[in-house]
Amino acid sequence: METTTKTNLEDFRLETRKWLEENCPASMRKPVRDSNDFFWGGRNAQFGSEDQKIWFERMLEKKWIVPYWDTKYGGGGLSNEENNILTQEMARLGCRKPIFSFGISMLGPALHKFASEEQKMRFLPEITAGKTWWCQGYSEPNAGSDLAGLQTKAEDKGDHYLINGSKVWTSYADKSDWIFCLVRTDFEAPKHNGISFLLIDMASEGVSTRPIKLISGKSPFCETFFDNVKVPKENLIGTLNDGWSIAKYLLTHERQMIGGVGETDIRQELHKTAKAYLPLQDGKISDGVLRHEIAVQEMNDSIFEMTIQRIMDEAKTGVNAGALSSFFKYYGTEQNVSRMELLTAITGSEGLQWEGDNEDAKVQVRRLCRSKGNTIEGGTSEIQLGIISKRILNLPS
């Protein structure tokens, strides 16, 4: 990676700012309301608006779909410093991501670390071009937290594997082009040692999906079934039977994504909402119990934010923050859940409206329901506490 001097970086910031100001359409600078506001790419890519198309195509041309990947994979080849600047400047203007892609956030890192050069050249450029919509296939019905207990089997049939089984919690599987999957390739070995990491084209014969309804209503989750699906052997990533290493690596990524982010607006708004909904006395929320609970929530929310910053800062100095992703995942999701409960208590009867004209209320109540999944998906809170106690605190088994 080339080193960049401070002056160069300052130039880069100014150029970037200018380019973004000139090229990012106004509607692409508004906050994202829900998943429909994202462009998802893929074979059957559909743009939600003309602006969305313009924004994606300009960023694609600039190679900024994945600005920090190598140019040979269609990335922008930016240094860490440059990429940070781009991120900051996009945040400053409120620019949306040009695409939402599990290929970038989850599969990409795994391919970079575990795939052959040939596989990288085959899959990464499709991702940077937004041409493949990827979903993930880890969990299975009945497996739950015991991810390594998975039973979907891949039999060696010479030039291909024959897949039978099913996956659950596969987000957007009904719309995806490809799935990255954990499958069992050895039923004799100890359970962690017989798992492989396989890429499967969702258009293959024998693949089908069924959407899952949650307590919050419709969801992107599906069950995905594999019925005698043939998968070419070159779709195996990494070493046969060593897929668990890749899974662990990816889970760490996923935890960080679920734990920390995306709720900033509500965090800041909690006491403001309370003041709007509840009676005040001398400028204080007169419901002393709720006031106490709000203060505790805001105290921990703001200190948790400081903590994310502190640990990121430490990571930059070389301190290994790997195991701490469990802390982020655990604490962040528990805070999400208690924040939604508090918001529901504050908004009283309005916060309970399931049907009707009040769109904000309907969104909020569904988020309350959906938040219950946060402490379960991506490794339950119990799993995270177990990891903290064993890997960080070195408590015995």
């Binding site: 949650l214 307590i215 002393g288 119990v289 409960e341 009283g348 399931w354 329901c369 219950k372 506490l385």
Partner: protein, 373 residues
Amino acid sequence: MTLILNEEQKMLKDSANEFLAMNSPVEKFRTLRDENYKPFDKELWQEIVEMGWTALTIPEQYNGLDFGYVGFGQVLEEMGKCLTKAPLLSSIGLCATALVKSSNEELKNNWIPELMNGTKHMAFAQDEKTYFDPTSIETTASESSNGYLINGSKIMVIDGGSADAFIVTANTSDNETALFVIDSKAEGVTIHTETLLDAGTYANIHFNQVSIKNEDRLSDKGKGDELLNYINNTAAICLSAEMLGIVTEAFDQTIAYLQERQQFGKRIGSYQALQHRAAKLFCEIELCKSVVIKALQALDKGDVNIDKLASLAKAKLGETIKLTTNEAIQMHGGIGVTDDVNIGFYFKRARVAQRLFGDYSYHLDRYARLNAY
């Protein structure tokens, strides 16, 4: 007085349990919801009437069974377990209680028999704000030539969409709380129903120059606040009984799941961290059982501490139902957040029940105020 059920109360509870298991299992709740949030099943309601549950709290002088609130609470607890929908709490627990307690013999004679035989049902309309604050009333009752003109809006009226009449709280010209009976078809009444998180329908009612007679005033002069307070105590206690049913059923289903579900080659109930959490829930639920029966007994014997006991019950149940339903979902794991299993229904019903007639913080604060601190 011992804190246990007597033989008759036990028999009533058992028969309610059997009847509801047969006629109103949780799947029935799912069906009603899937039929575009149907409020309740009229056939079931008629069967409930035949079981005598609508007469339990009615004194003998009005041809009721005079069985008392302890018994009534057992029925509500069993209904809570099955998430049974029926206007028993609204029409009998609230409105019939208000009628019985009032001194308006005409309204009593007109309404009590019809509420008991289930041909009509009444709903109680008091809420006006997003939070519970029964004594701060903006709905007005201005005196007119031969009665009152009612103006204002009410929300969160349980079973208000199908009710034949409402008991409504309003502020009179001399700034006094009063309760009135208003026909749901009276001119100037508009009703809009809303579906809440628990798939229940609740009415928002607007009263625009609704004209009622003097005889439709339920509360005596100067007695409105007292009557309203009595109804809300009764409501909080009866709802606590229903919540106890929700809590115990959600807990029992969770324990059963812990006993059978396997993870990492072991039943998850063998994991000590879950064991301790389950044991702590058990303790809290033991407390819930005690405060509910104590508060129900207090209703029956006219205990002077009824205010405190009502708030204790609703606060404790509000705290425990939240904890229990959250733990229930978490311990069920992924399947717990899907609509395929029933445990989420308990969580959803719990959140609405928490809010009705005052939530945890309302009643904890009220308890402190009643103790003068």
